[in-house]
Symmetry: C2
Subunit: 103 residues, 2 copies
Amino acid sequence: MNADSFQQLDKVIHEKNRMAIMSLLAASQELSFTDIRESLSMTDGNLITHIRTLQKAGYVAVSKSFKDRRPLTTCRLTTEGIDAFSGYVDLLEGIVKQARAAK
Amino acid sequence: MNADSFQQLDKVIHEKNRMAIMSLLAASQELSFTDIRESLSMTDGNLITHIRTLQKAGYVAVSKSFKDRRPLTTCRLTTEGIDAFSGYVDLLEGIVKQARAAK
């Protein structure tokens, strides 16, 4: 077993709510805060906290604008976020393969 | 994307050190505390804490005996632990597949 794989798992992405947000954003160009919140059944506060962590890591970019005179917050993965998520998924895939081989 | 998959990830196993311990034990019948500690380059204190969490969840059984008059602590997965790890890996696999499809 390659013990390093586990240690290399990106802490920012490994938390399961953030894993869900990153996966959702990886599947779309851009999503509104409301879409993410509803897709993942998260509370406002919880989502804000996790988005902030992803933003600080440089993985998610947040834009504020207006739509029909109402404020609209949208999120998308940055290039760094796309790379980090891709590396994370590669590691997970390796871990799943190791686990399958162990059974 | 299936948002439930992320919420269903077993918290006890998802922490990366415990993921490493469970993977290691899944690959062996039984391992000594020393073997696990050395394979994963963990400190005594850290390993004890994580093994205790896995024991409390009913996933790992710990036995104490003597070998050459020296105390020997060994760990193995319980049936419940094997099932939980298997379910966890199935979920991870699904998440990896979703992520691959999203790219």
